[in-house]
């Protein structure tokens, strides 16, 4: 779906990112050697269960890692420039203007003491030279675009006067008003009802496509991701276990964890009156990230695990290239000693 495939240079290149937290309970390697590229206009889904490190990747890119955490190593190249470890002042120029973020809970993302008009215009005041009147006009236009009725009156309202879905629309308006080149959305619809979720996913997709913005959609909801994303990156315990084109990951997952995630979603069984099939489940729990086993972190829960898996870390390797509809080759990579066979 990314229409800017002629651009060979990625907008964002994350290389061997390591974000670690030094807690009293031990060292938490929340992100441990994650690399990916994001092309201009591309929508990438970052999926995994709680503790997978998906939110921490978003926070790392935004420069929002606070002690006891820090970016231990790796590069975050945004538009050709390494932004990992930039100072707060330098990040401020980028944040909001170049890279915007949407959080799960709109009530904590909005300041309850300011009107939403104030909060939308703040981004423009910081990053543009527009006059107050122009800013107001833009804010009204933006509110209208995200589907808030009577935007002129709503500007002077406070966050508590909006419903959850409307608040998230305001947050999207704030994120998109400066036309950022990268939008990071961290579980943007998880707290919302399914009819509102569908409205907002459509809205976000339309907004990023209109502006040619790249998007990282962070979520645990594989179904939502498969609807939106061009590429999917699957995380487990701070590492990428699989990445590739979205359709390919969903239709032909090669990592046992990805397969397990997909099969865990209750799906339509054959429409008969026979006994219900058991859901195939991943046994056990996500391990304590401070005490990861040696070798592959998924090995204790994996039915395919061998002695080798318990000894040696699997490396993320491109194993094939699937010809997409456009004739373009896009790599599908998996970190597994015994990947699932590709069904013909």
């Amino acid at each position: 779906m990314s229409n800017n495939e002629q651009h060979s240079k990625p907008l964002l290149r994350v290389q061997e990112l390591r974000t670690w937290f030094y807690t009293f309970g031990g060292l938490v390697k929340a992100v441990d050697g994650v690399s990916f590229d994001l092309a201009p206009g591309e929508i990438m889904g970052l999926v995994g269960e709680s503790g997978g490190g998906k939110s921490m990747i978003g926070f790392s890119i935004m420069g929002l890692i606070d002690p006891p955490g820090r970016i231990e190593g790796g590069r975050i190249e945004f538009n050709g420039k390494n932004i990992a470890g930039l100072s707060e002042d330098e990040m401020r120029v980028i944040r909001g203007k170049e890279i915007a973020m949407i959080f799960q809970d709109p009530m904590t993302a909005l300041n309850p003491l300011y009107t939403i008009g104030n909060q939308i215009e703040e981004t423009l005041a910081l990053h543009t030279a527009l006059s107050a009147r122009e800013r107001r006009a833009k804010a009204i236009e933006m509110l209208h675009k995200v589907g808030i009725p009577q935007p002129e009156q709503r500007l002077s309202h406070y966050p508590h006067q909006f419903s959850g879905g409307m608040r998230q629309r305001v947050v999207i308006a704030i994120a998109m008003i400066a036309k950022p080149r990268l939008l990071i959305a961290d579980e943007p619809t998880t707290a919302l009802d399914v009819t509102i979720q569908a409205q907002l996913l459509r809205l976000m997709r339309q907004q990023v496509m209109e502006n040619g913005t790249s998007m990282i959609l962070i979520t645990h909801d594989l179904a939502a991701v498969s609807q939106m994303a061009d590429t999917i990156v699957v995380l487990y315990c701070g590492r990428i276990v699989e990445k590739g084109p979205a359709e390919d990951i969903i239709a032909r997952p090669r990592h046992p964890y990805t397969r397990g995630l997909i099969d865990s979603i209750p799906h339509e069984t054959a429409e008969n009156d026979g006994p219900k099939q058991r859901l195939s489940q991943i046994p056990g729990n996500v391990p304590d990230i401070r005490k990861l086993p040696p070798g592959c972190a998924f090995a204790p829960r994996c039915s395919r695990a061998s002695e080798r898996c318990r000894m040696q870390d699997p490396v993320l390797m491109e194993h094939n290239a699937i010809a997409m509809g456009s004739g373009k080759l896009r790599p599908h990579a998996v970190a597994c000693h015994h990947p699932l066979a590709v069904s013909p």
Binding site: M1, E49, S50, S163, G165, M166, D193, V194, T195, I196, Q197, A198, Q199, L201, R202, R205, H220, D221, L222, A223, A224, S226, Q227, M228, E247, I250, A251, G260, L261, I262, D263, S264, I265, P266, H267, E268, T269, E271, K276, R278, L279, S280, Q281, I282, P283, N285, V286
Partner: protein, 349 residues
């Protein structure tokens, strides 16, 4: 599937025209309003559940689905009488428990247990697992029970936990394990009906599958029924024999699971199904997308509760509230579009 006890024809749980209203107007001074030179003190009433009727047979799973604020959790809590119902009737095996006080509810609770959404908040953090899971059982017994430790162990084994977990506290468990403890607690009295309020919503998807499998295994083993409350359509489709769809405290459609998913009749059910993300399908055009949001349960709209968001609403929808009427095949719909009066073609045949 069902155990052959008592009268199998009689529903295990029957709810008739259940109503639950909450007065949220506060004190007299909170209510005081001056408008147009007149002083008034209007009450603010939340109409959480509005005349809901349902029945659960032995060995059956009835799924209640709806979005936040539709009253599905209040319905569950009212049935187990955590809220006193403000109207209607609740019958357990034909026994009317609507006006039962605490003491008279005690024997009923042996038949009726609940599993809650939040496995962190529903376990007492200061109790050990052995005390948590045996409490309902001990409450239901007259005297001391000699083999209590063995019973606790047997219960834990049923939900996939072991002897090493018996003397631990809730905080030492993961979310999925805590939900297993909550299930063991509900099982301890060998209930006939388990009311499960979003039991897997707080869990990761791989753990969610484990708990759903466990719930189905236990049902097969003990033959009890579930009233299963969830917002997740894929979960409700997987687990339920029949489904009830709620909107703004009203039951808008009921029917067998297959029928509801194959031929949803109510415009809200259709919108809900269209909005649910499907694995591997791209986000389609917004044709079936329902706009707007759920209205306030304080000022219920006149007529049909869904009419302001409904693409098919017509004049009568604003005038008259549609009632849940059978449309054949065990399906019932509360919509004027599916009544004989507005479907002359159908009525003629």
């Amino acid at each position: 599937m069902s155990q052959s006890v008592k009268d199998p024809a009689k529903p295990l749980l029957e709810v008739r025209q259940l109503e639950q209203r909450f007065d949220v107007s506060g004190s007299f001074f909170d209510r005081l309003r001056i408008a147009g030179g007149r002083i008034s003190a209007p009450r603010r009433i939340v109409h959480a559940v509005n005349g809901v009727s349902l029945a659960v047979k032995r060995g059956e799973v009835l799924g209640i689905v709806g979005e936040s604020g539709c009253g599905k959790s209040t319905l569950a809590k009212t049935i187990v009488k955590l809220h006193e119902p403000t109207g209607g009737q609740i019958l357990i095996e034909g026994e009317d428990i609507t006006r039962h006080d605490f003491a008279r509810m005690r024997p009923v609770r042996k038949k009726l247990q609940m599993i809650f959404q939040d496995p962190y908040a529903s376990l007492n953090p200061r109790q050990k697992v052995r005390d948590i899971i045996m409490e309902p059982f001990l409450e239901s017994q007259a005297g001391p029970v000699p083999d209590i430790a063995d019973r606790a162990l047997a219960l834990l084994a049923k939900v996939g936990l072991g002897i090493e977990h018996l003397d631990r506290y809730p905080h030492q468990f993961s979310g999925g394990q805590r939900q297993r403890i909550g299930i063991a607690r509900a099982l301890s009295v060998q209930p006939d009906l388990i009311i499960a309020d979003e039991p897997v919503s707080a869990l990761d998807v791989s753990i969610q599958a484990q708990i759903l499998n466990l719930l189905m295994d236990l049902k097969d083993e003990f033959g009890f029924s579930y009233l299963f409350i969830t917002h997740d359509l894929s979960v409700v489709r997987y687990i339920s024999d029949r489904i009830g769809v709620m909107y703004l405290g009203f039951m808008v459609e009921t029917g067998p699971t297959r029928t509801i998913f194959a031929e949803p009749k109510h415009p809200y059910t259709r919108a809900l199904l269209a909005a649910a993300p499907q694995l591997g399908t791209k986000l389609g055009p917004a044709s079936e997308q329902v706009g707007g949001e759920v209205p306030s349960a304080i000022d219920l709209p006149r007529g049909c509760p869904f009419r302001q968001r409904c693409l098919l609403a017509f004049a009568r929808c604003a005038e008259e509230r549609p009632e849940l009427r059978p449309v054949g095949g065990g399906q019932a719909v509360a919509c004027h579009l599916h009544e004989p009066a507005t479907e002359p073609a159908l009525a003629a045949t």
